[in-house]
Amino acid sequence: MAPIKVSAAGVLASLAILAALFVLCPASEAWAEIGRVKKARGEAFIERAGVENIPAAPGVKLETKDILVTGPDGRISVTFIDNSRFAAGPDSRVTLEQFEFNSTTHEGEFQMRVEQGSLAIISGQIAKHEADAMKVHTPTSILGVRGTRFIVEVRP
């Protein structure tokens, strides 16, 4: 097998192209981010497997399987990458069980579970694209979201 000739200029050129691509290429596909905390107050944090509890603060990025937890004085408000958003009130426990979203076609699936607490929810592009693609699970029920604004409350 013939040896491959590598020149320093060639390597530098490749690195430069890679660097340019890194800046110019769409970052959205590589991100695990499904949404961000926009507001938080009081005792409010995120439980995530494998890491210590993350205090909820504006800008904190959320991932699938995250559990949002608030204490008696806590609140967490989130906007997701399909523009859906919600506010969780005190004594809430909400799991973001599944979140998939194709930003080109708007196909997706968003399932959350409210174990307890209160939530005001405004649905986004996932629900708009397909009825019931966004679902909220409570201890006794499954809510199929067909747009747009509603409140869910589960007493512990």
Binding site: G59, V60, N83, S118, A120, T148
Partner: protein, 201 residues
């Protein structure tokens, strides 16, 4: 048991005063959306209950039995005002236009950039992030337009990063010809459809 008895006595129209285990209330839609609906399936109740009018609600007891009716709108708003007030600010869109077939901003769109940057600055304390969405007119194939719209979105994304925005806060997407602003037939050139929407949320 007492709760169930009260519900029966109170009748279907006036929901019982005892607190339900779970409650779902549909709210009126916003300025840009209809009221919509929520479909409810509960383990204790056969079939699906659908809430489709503003302030309609479902109350669910510990056995999953569902009772639907109309909530008292004023009492409801009072009770949930703190919760509703803490919703994140709704996303705001800015639309930018391009020259034909290129990824160069039309001169009429240059003044939009400072307004956009100002909106981003205002939301910095609320964990601002930005989604740049590219759109095309219907000239060309679906695939070509998907690629072109994504390319436009990335150009604007790159421009925003040059203006000082953290790359981590901006993402880009291409919607191709799926969201025509002005409905035209297939393969019709249209200036207003060739645009980039910058969503600040």
């Amino acid at each position: 048991m007492r709760c169930r008895l009260l519900m029966v006595l109170a009748g279907a129209l006036t929901l019982a005063a005892c607190a339900p285990k779970e409650r779902v209330v549909l709210l009126p839609g916003g300025t840009d959306s209809a009221t919509g609906a929520v479909a409810l399936q509960s383990e204790g109740t056969a079939g699906t209950a659908v809430l489709s009018t503003a302030y309609s609600e479902a109350r669910i007891d510990t056995e999953g039995q569902v009772a639907t009716g109309d909530a008292d709108a004023i009492g409801l708003i009072k009770k949930y005002l703190p919760l509703l007030s803490s919703l994140p600010t709704s996303p705001r869109s800015f639309v930018l236009y391009f020259l034909t077939g290129k990824t160069i901003l039309s001169p009429i769109s240059e003044p939009e950039l400072p307004k956009l940057l100002s909106e981003i600055d205002e939301r910095r304390t609320q964990g601002v992030d930005v989604l740049v969405v590219g759109h095309t007119d219907s000239v060309g194939s679906q695939e070509a337009n998907d690629a072109l719209s994504l390319k436009r979105a990335n150009e604007i994304r790159h421009r925003l990063i040059q203006e000082g925005l953290d790359a981590d806060l901006v993402s880009a997407a291409g919607r191709g010809e799926r969201d025509l602003l002005q409905e035209t037939g297939d393969d019709v050139e249209n200036f207003f459809n060739r645009r980039v929407e910058v969503i600040v949320r």
